[in-house]
């Protein structure tokens, strides 16, 4: 099944890059409770990365490991959504990015847990429990901060406006997706759009935030055709030790 590798890579790259972004917060969050919660989410995502990239490595063969894929590929080989490589900027961006992602990630994993491919279903079944908690938490934070003070509201609105154009990519399928859908391995990306919109709009209304008008969608992340400049800097840091000391084991 030739589309299985790309699916595992896409899922794993999303969790790898987002997990890394969240880990950048360590020791710098607005309150201790948030510090702990961000680390918790990052940990879950790194754990999921080990499973997804582990599967991708197994399919790639040649004795490759999840670490090889995480630490030794260059930008053009990454298949994560552009959304997750957006920088942290501030707590509003970080929270909004998480919210927009979680509301896609949760139903995606839910569908994958019923995949016709047992290895995919097994990983998704484990991850969906964590994603349920992430999605509850990020929605609560969006509502609270949107509805908090004038300042928190404005910051959340600014973050939402900036990140909105990066959400469309989640729902645009390609040949790989068509193949996966036809074999019952993964849902067609387009099929998740309505549920996502409905949930997102409901929470944003509670948060007193307005949904941006534009439906323009940046793309190029999940195909690898055009990542943002940010990804290279992230990899520079994440991969540095493995690149500087290629013979070492850690």
């Amino acid at each position: 099944m030739s589309a299985l590798g790309p699916l595992a890579t896409r899922m794993g790259d999303n969790t790898l890059i987002l997990g890394h972004r969240l880990s950048e917060w360590c020791g710098q969050a607005p309150a201790l409770e948030e510090d702990i919660a961000l680390a918790n989410t990052a940990l879950d995502l790194i754990g999921q990365t080990q499973m997804w990239l582990g599967l991708a490595a197994e399919i790639a063969g040649e004795g490759k490991t999840a670490d090889d894929l995480a630490m030794r590929r260059d930008v053009w080989d990454f298949r994560n959504l552009l959304l997750v490589e957006r920088p942290n900027v501030d707590f509003a961006y970080t929270t909004t990015r998480q919210f927009l992602f979680d509301r896609w990630h949760l139903p995606m994993l839910d569908a994958l847990s019923r995949s016709s491919e047992p290895r995919v279903a097994a990983i998704a079944a484990k991850a969906v429990k964590e994603a349920t908690y992430h999605a509850e938490r990020s929605a609560e934070l969006v509502v609270a901060l949107g509805d908090g003070t004038a300042e928190s509201h404005d910051r959340m609105q600014a973050a939402l406006d900036a990140l909105w154009p990066y959400t469309g990519e989640m729902f645009i399928g390609d040949d790989i997706d068509a193949e996966l859908a036809s074999e019952g391995i993964a849902p067609a990306p387009e099929s998740l759009r309505d549920g996502w919109e409905e949930a997102v709009r409901t929470f944003l209304a509670d948060a007193t935030l307005s949904v941006p008008d534009s439906d323009f969608a940046h793309r190029g992340g999940r195909s690898g055709a055009r990542h943002s400049e940010h990804l290279g800097h992230l990899l520079t840091q994440m991969q540095w030790l493995q690149r500087a000391y290629p013979d070492a084991t850690w």
Binding site: G27, A31, I46, D67, D147, G148, E151, R155, D247
Partner: protein, 324 residues
Amino acid sequence: MYAQLVKSEAAEETEQDRAFQERIDRKEKIEPKDWMPEGYRKTLIRQIGQHAHSEIVGQLPEGNWITRAPTLERKAILLAKVQDEAGHGLYLYCAAETLGISRDEMTEMLLDGRMKYSSIFNYPTLTWADMGAVGWLVDGAAIMNQVPLQRTSYGPYARAMVRICKEESFHQRQGFDIMMKMAQGTTAQKKMAQDALDRFWFPSLMMFGPSDKDSVHSAQSMAWKIKMNTNDELRQKFVDQTVPQAEYLGLTVPDPDLRWNEETGHYDFTEPDWSEFMDVIKGNGPCNADRIEARKKAWDDGAWVREGLMAHAEKRRAARVAAQ
């Protein structure tokens, strides 16, 4: 240790004070609602506060390497470890709050220099081997101090210590495990491991605080059982435990006068440079300014978030009341 130079208040000797001391001597736990001498309360706030701040500032030197951890597993382990330290800070702030001070007040006092944190966290982490050295030596020293504190006289502090100690042994193990991989690794890795030990050895010995002969506040704190061992006792114990581990790793402790003493049954070793220690305590360590700057930035940048969350909670509460 995490509380290195805690100034303790002198005790007066009233009838109440004597009765209080008797309770402590009988190993009874003092609880928040019990009467306690003002000096006991103030000393404990300083000590627990200093300990809590050490956990939080202590996130920074290790957090420094989370985004550069060499494998997914190492990244997950380090992240979990640093997250534990944040949790320790939380338990300890809660314990201190039972003495009538708020977490926010203590944070302000850390940021404006009225409260301290352990000197060890003012040293930089320069290579991945430092993640090994910190876990092995710094958490190792912390355990040495915290295990006896599980029996400290103040109930909430003792209970916080019980929870913390459960997690600390994992911290030390993961550090030792990193050191082992490095010490058995390539030439470059071995060099990193030795360099990390060279830089962290004496600062780790400083963690236990000045020598007993110069430690003016120890006696009262020991009588109150908020300090369970002398600084020198713990330092000796640490050296005795750590030197064989260094030998096992094939690393050299950077102390030419270190040798086993048959007569005492302990290692003889060189005292750290106490003038360096005093410099670090006064704010002149290699990272003091950076650490406080990082904490300040997190606190200031996070103000709108804390205010937003509070405002929302207040709106929700008001709505519930109105609905009733």
